[in-house]
Symmetry: C2
Subunit: 326 residues, 2 copies
Amino acid sequence: MKKVALGIDIGGTNTAIGVVDQAGDVLSKTSIPTPKDGNVDNYIKSIAETVRELLNGLKDLVECQGIGIGAPNANYYSGNIEYAPNLAFKGIVPLVNLLKEAIPEFKVIALTNDANAAAMGEMIYGGAKGMKNFVMYTLGTGVGSGIIVNGELVYGHDGFAGECGHTMLIPGGRSCGCGINGHLESYCSAGGMKRTAFELLAYYNATDSLLANKTFNELESKDIYDAAVKGDKIALEVFRVTGDYLARGIADTIHHTSPEAVFIFGGPTAAGEILFNPIRESLEKYLLPIFKGKQQAQILPSKLKLGDAAIVGASSLVWKELENNA
Amino acid sequence: MKKVALGIDIGGTNTAIGVVDQAGDVLSKTSIPTPKDGNVDNYIKSIAETVRELLNGLKDLVECQGIGIGAPNANYYSGNIEYAPNLAFKGIVPLVNLLKEAIPEFKVIALTNDANAAAMGEMIYGGAKGMKNFVMYTLGTGVGSGIIVNGELVYGHDGFAGECGHTMLIPGGRSCGCGINGHLESYCSAGGMKRTAFELLAYYNATDSLLANKTFNELESKDIYDAAVKGDKIALEVFRVTGDYLARGIADTIHHTSPEAVFIFGGPTAAGEILFNPIRESLEKYLLPIFKGKQQAQILPSKLKLGDAAIVGASSLVWKELENNA
């Protein structure tokens, strides 16, 4: 019998559920719709059924140790999802308690936000194995982060720590989804990179750029990557500028918690050195002398596989809970 | 016999040494010059002699539990002072090891930087008693900070965490002592407030301000405070702007570690609401909705007494070491 953990990733559209072993490999997975009508009871029933089906499919092969869940606006301490703007549930959903009632056979059910789950996944299964102090930045629709200090996720006083995407990058700068102008997320998310592309097209009057023939609503971050690979100057400049923005935010994070490494996760990391070189170069400009040239300057791509990372990250919470309760 | 700890504060000019009881009261203190010639051996001898004299003066009354030291560029992990720009010592000084040889009777000798020591002092003796997650900002010649997560100081991978004074406030902004432009310290230190005063005098062409008759080299932060108390508009605007700058930095720190409270220590806090009101008002603009109106918005003056805080903060390291080793 292999020891496994269940990982659940709650997204705005779908909820992915997978069975993950201690090496971080997904043995089985499926997904159900995240309800659009906000009906929590049906959703909990549906999760419970799906979990049992998945485990039934692996009967006599695995021994499930618990459930880890990643979700937006999730609070580790309370086990609640609180006022998540991208989910249809209203107010506070006591997810962990509801699941404990619906699936009483598991002692460990833990919840945190997506980026925290990714950071935990990196520590348990990925490139941060053995590290006690590191940070994870996740780039996607938004910019998330998870901070590990002394081998533990930093949840802070109320469970909501690690919102590095909403640190101030440029005072009075771009509008951010949270309502405060100038945040890192409005520059370094997928949408932020698109906005940078349009600013640069305008600034350079770059009629010959591969990006000049897409509307604002058409252009996707994948287009910027494809153009950069073809050597398009504007697209390359988008990555250079984004790398510089990220370096500035990362420098501030290093000045806060002095991590051993900073991992970056998400679609844009597929660009490899096109993204990482500008980050590393700019970081040297923004770091205090005491931090320069040290291991902190390690800016590393996440070792979690892009497709499964959310499930895998969520599942890692289980091993951490078991370790802390041992 | 009262249990006491020794606190040592190493400054550029003087080294203050005091005997502190468990309530944070200084029973006896003195100071010796910090050597200008960089002679470490003589300095260690001099500290050892002074420590013994102080304790001899309290003979039969106190039982000393150890020594805590606050110093610039101090590394908790190694016990070294490393390349401190304001001290005459060259390179790396293994202060804790040298003191352990010179004063072998104490099992606990711990070292950290001044702002970390202040944060620890706040937790052990001050307004943060019982808090597990909080942050301390220290305003003075520079801007320092100490971050407490889960009841422990955040030292980070290499012992240098907590440099919030060197987070980016205004990209491409004022020159900072560290060599990187735009850092919080260049706006919110004593010198930073003076620079703000001169910018505002120039901006408003404020010939009628009380601050308009001092040269750049004459003006001290005390002058700004005195003028603000008298209702001088430029001086009040200096505090308002400084409060706004601080709020921006503090918001970023809250977004990192979600503390229960942020304590502020140092000379400018004597201005009371003239400083704290602008910080609190601006903070509401810069905090994510999930953090607004919560306890994090608690921006509190330090309860450590200004004159003794450095000694008291340093001494608190001893109680923490004993607690962690128990």
